[in-house]
Symmetry: C2
Subunit: 409 residues, 2 copies
């Protein structure tokens, strides 16, 4: 069960004009459930994406990057769960292209207007024949209100489907932003994280959408980490169908971008936090906020070191205020000229460390009280500047080991 996350009801995920979604069972991994998702956009839709920085990135990531660079406008996303098509070499690229070609011929668009995505086990051949055979069923199921079915079809170790919607007003015109995401393990921000797709009917030009997508990733998915492993398949795409009756947004300083940016960030942040709340085996959600650094990079390095320490994560799992482990993690990631005697940290409202040592006011019972919560903020003040950085993470439980020891069986 995720930590304080209520998954959306199907009706919570608002249709976006110009977008239809359909799912089917391709039996990629022998599951008895839909595992194939087809998202179709009306002509004129533009898209931008950010992708994993993993050097062994999956075949569909290679193909996505190439198609996004070559295509003018995008017509479809094709997504399978159960097989990552990663570590598969040249046959993997061919499998992703074959999938795209089948979709393109079905929809009457170019190969480059189709973006492929895969998630699942790494280093097994993608069963392209079964996948392509299931495409007509997915097409037959296309409907604007199938966002919930769509995200359900791309789950792997996720325990709940994750989605969010916002409706905003731009110059008196209602604009919709709806997004979905999957991911629970192999989660560590490094540009984009896991699979997430957001669509809006706002008429955003491609030149504006690309930097906006990177910006949204930075404030949302790039702040989420479960286990420090950046997946080979991480992909985050925003598609703008332009169906809202508004003049096109063609400049980054267009004032109409403000409400849209806020809505996109809200949806992406909700999805990113949902992924952490549903992190493999998670029983606690932690916000690690590091402030008072010289630059955001050093704050982020320390926040991530705390978030990734198995010793810190198991202490949170045990609700044990063994907070010296946080001190240790700070010391491991800190710049060499950090003055430990200026460092303080808080667990929620409780001052634990002051001037580099245990705060005089701190008592074990205070730590114990906070550690019992299922949502906790660790705030670290470095006392050497004005920069800050925040990441979200979860604890490390017996279930994490069970889930990952048994994943393929």
């Amino acid at each position: 069960m995720p930590v304080r996350y209520t998954p959306p009801k199907p009706s919570d995920l608002l249709p976006v004009p110009g977008v239809a979604l359909g799912t089917a069972a391709a039996k990629i991994k022998g599951w008895h459930r839909d595992d194939l998702l087809l998202v179709v956009f009306e002509p004129g839709t533009v898209a931008a994406g950010v992708f994993t920085q993993n050097r062994f990135c999956a075949a569909p990531v290679h193909v996505c990057r190439r198609h996004l660079a070559q295509a003018s406008g995008i017509r479809a996303l094709v997504v399978n769960a159960g097989n990552a098509n990663a570590g598969t070499g040249a046959p993997g690229i061919a499998a992703a292209e074959t999938t795209c070609a089948a979709v393109a011929s079905m929809l009457g668009c170019t190969l480059q207007q189709v973006l492929p995505f895969s998630t699942g086990v790494i280093m097994e051949p993608l069963p392209t024949v079964r996948l392509v055979a299931a495409l007509p069923a997915a097409r037959a199921a296309l409907a604007p209100d199938h966002w919930f079915a769509a995200v359900s079809a791309i789950m792997t170790t996720d325990t709940v489907p994750k989605g969010a919607s916002r409706r905003i007003d731009v110059d008196g015109v209602p604009v919709t932003v709806t997004g979905i995401a999957k991911g629970a393990g192999m989660i560590h921000p490094d540009m984009a994280t896991m699979l997430s797709f957001i669509a809006t009917d706002a008429p955003v030009a491609a030149t504006v959408l690309a930097p906006l997508t990177r910006e949204i990733a930075d404030v949302s998915f790039n702040c989420a980490t479960v286990d420090g492993d950046t997946s080979t398949n991480d992909s985050f795409v925003i598609a703008a169908t332009g169906r809202a009756p508004l003049p096109p947004i063609e400049r980054a300083d267009d004032r109409r971008l403000a409400p849209l940016r806020a809505a996109l960030a809200a949806v992406a942040t909700e999805l990113a936090q949902a992924i952490v709340r549903d992190g493999e085996g998670a029983t606690k959600f932690m916000t690690i906020a590091v402030e008072g650094g010289r630059d955001a990079a050093e704050c982020r390095r320390i926040a991530l070191r705390i978030a990734h320490s198995p010793l810190v994560k198991t202490a949170f799992f045990a609700s044990d205020p063994n907070l010296g482990r946080i001190v240790c993690a700070i010391g491991n990631a800190a710049p060499s000229d950090l003055d430990p005697s200026r460092v303080s940290f808080w667990l929620d409202d409780v001052l634990v460390v002051e001037n580099g040592g245990r705060a005089a006011s701190y008592g074990e019972a205070d730590g114990q009280r906070v550690m019992k919560n299922d949502e906790i903020t660790v705030r670290v003040a470095l006392g050497r500047g004005r920069a800050a950085s925040t990441v979200w993470t979860c604890d490390f439980s017996h279930d994490y080991v069970s889930i990952n020891a048994d994943y393929r069986s």
Copy 2:
């Protein structure tokens, strides 16, 4: 139980002329066992140490560094288990100095000739009064053949005491090297790792011993990692009593250093591997050997990323050849100009990945066969140069979570 490690019998740990060891119960943490170790050296002993690079390094590490820089010769080590005296600010420094002063007054040497060490829980005040009160009992127990009792007294989550000895011949004179180490968690090499003390009666000058100690650390403890957390207290000290009837070794190119270097490296490597074999919850011992890199640093970065990946570690725990996780870890740590299509890796003798994809010869049954072993080598060939690096690590089990969730209770 450690993985394929048979702890020494007391008689396996050879006395080193010029060294006596005594232990006592100081009840630092309320344990009913000896938890205080005093090591006394005869006058004329020189020592060198390498210490944690953690910026929140413990008070005794600060004091050790200062004393080693100031003292001419060393007379004693004083070590407690159960409390790390880390994250304790100025009172922690005072506690370490008080301990040294009590030893110095007892032995009639200077404060600077005593080196303090602590291991245990971080951020709790060191109970100096109890510690000092137990010193006379430790002194009364001093004996040259107490190495086994010594290492038993400094254990924390270690399940077995770790020690090793070698006797070598230098110009017809027998020379002894005996070392002990403790550590099982918060283990990640970053200069030195956990507590380890090695003594020899070889007459090595201080100017030769200091670089030799760093060199030995680099080929032994700095290749060991359990969980990627560098402790606040890591300390590794080599003491040379000079009791062997040999002219002093005063130059780094003295040919007599060769057998001594080999013996020190053998003892340190055995201790470092013993720490990994006894890693918290370990059921498997893995050697991660990365070769074919442009430089050792990039090989080491990749080896450590594989060693630290919780997904890789849980797959080994489950004996599940889910080897895509190794591909993912390589991709996360690889330099940006790595060509994945030149990468291969082997699990023991089994070629798993060739030219960046699954090897044609690889079958699941082959991976399964190797994964069942409790000692496994992962060999990665990057295909871009001649450099290499090796690290040793262990798997990630339910017991790791249990041990670290319950550590303080």
